[in-house]
Symmetry: C2
């Protein structure tokens, strides 16, 4: 007969395993942790990349939203985080002349901290692929690929997104 | 010489006039009031209408977000509000093969309340145009136009938007 303590331990392990798909998102290879609650952040803009057939929603944490709304984005203030949610595109089922999100591709992030991310232009980059949020990149230097792509907008603090006009 | 009371009244009027562009958004002709704080709501989906060259972000209030995330959207629960922010499209300045928001067109809303909005299929409709948020519609029955357009998706509780897949 098991002891009550073993029973409780077994229950704890069982419960932990039930929640592990939510909790167990690995860090990016450069050590960046998936920002929690990013799906609750507010919207900055959106885009449609016709070169790779994806739709993108750009969200910001509180610091980034305040910066965007006060037109204080060059440079973005320390602590700003921009999140980009990316989906493959598909015709909207009931309005086929509209394009809507289909399969979720990835969530990617830029985290502003000049000192901490000095080697990547003052921004920390990270990306998690798919619904299971597998970290992108094979080693800690993977983000040099991100920097190379963002260097053409160095004068815009390395950011492509312009906050969308709102009332 | 003015009295202190008159001076205070003048100051009050001056301050009110400074803030009036923010406060003075008229109600829609059917009496619906612009939902406050809608720009702070969380994202449900986005779309790109290639038939009229606009980009759209779809946001939801807390009730709608909870419904979307729990796949409880047919029908949407009472109190759900869906907001659609619409912009004219333009090539993204630094990545021309992407399409991004340019001029803000309007913000439009669907408010779920079967009893209150029985005459328009259980949803209250309203729209405010441009950055100065002028109410759309000339009389209280303007929303029959909205209902007519949404009737093809009656089986989807009159909603075109499918919540975007997210981790």
């Amino acid at each position: 007969m098991k002891s009550p303590i073993l029973n409780q331990l077994a229950l704890l392990l069982f419960c932990s395993s039930m929640f592990s798909p939510v909790l167990a998102v690995d860090n990016a290879p450069n050590g960046i942790k998936l920002p929690s609650e990013y799906k609750d952040w507010r919207v900055i803009s959106q885009s449609h990349r016709i070169d790779n057939n994806t739709l993108r929603t750009i969200l910001g944490n509180d610091i980034a939203i305040e910066a965007a709304r006060s037109n204080n984005t060059n440079p973005w203030p320390k602590g700003s985080i921009l999140a980009k949610l990316v989906w493959k595109q598909a015709p909207e089922q009931h309005w086929p002349s509209a394009i809507a999100p289909e399969k979720f591709v990835h969530a990617e992030f830029m985290i502003k901290n000049d000192n901490k991310y000095n080697s990547t232009g003052g921004w920390g980059y990270a990306r998690w692929l798919g619904l299971d949020q597998k970290p992108y990149g094979t080693d800690k230097d993977f983000a040099q690929e991100c920097v190379a792509c963002h260097t053409p907008v160095k004068d815009n603090d390395y950011v492509f997104t312009k906050p969308a006009e709102m009332p």
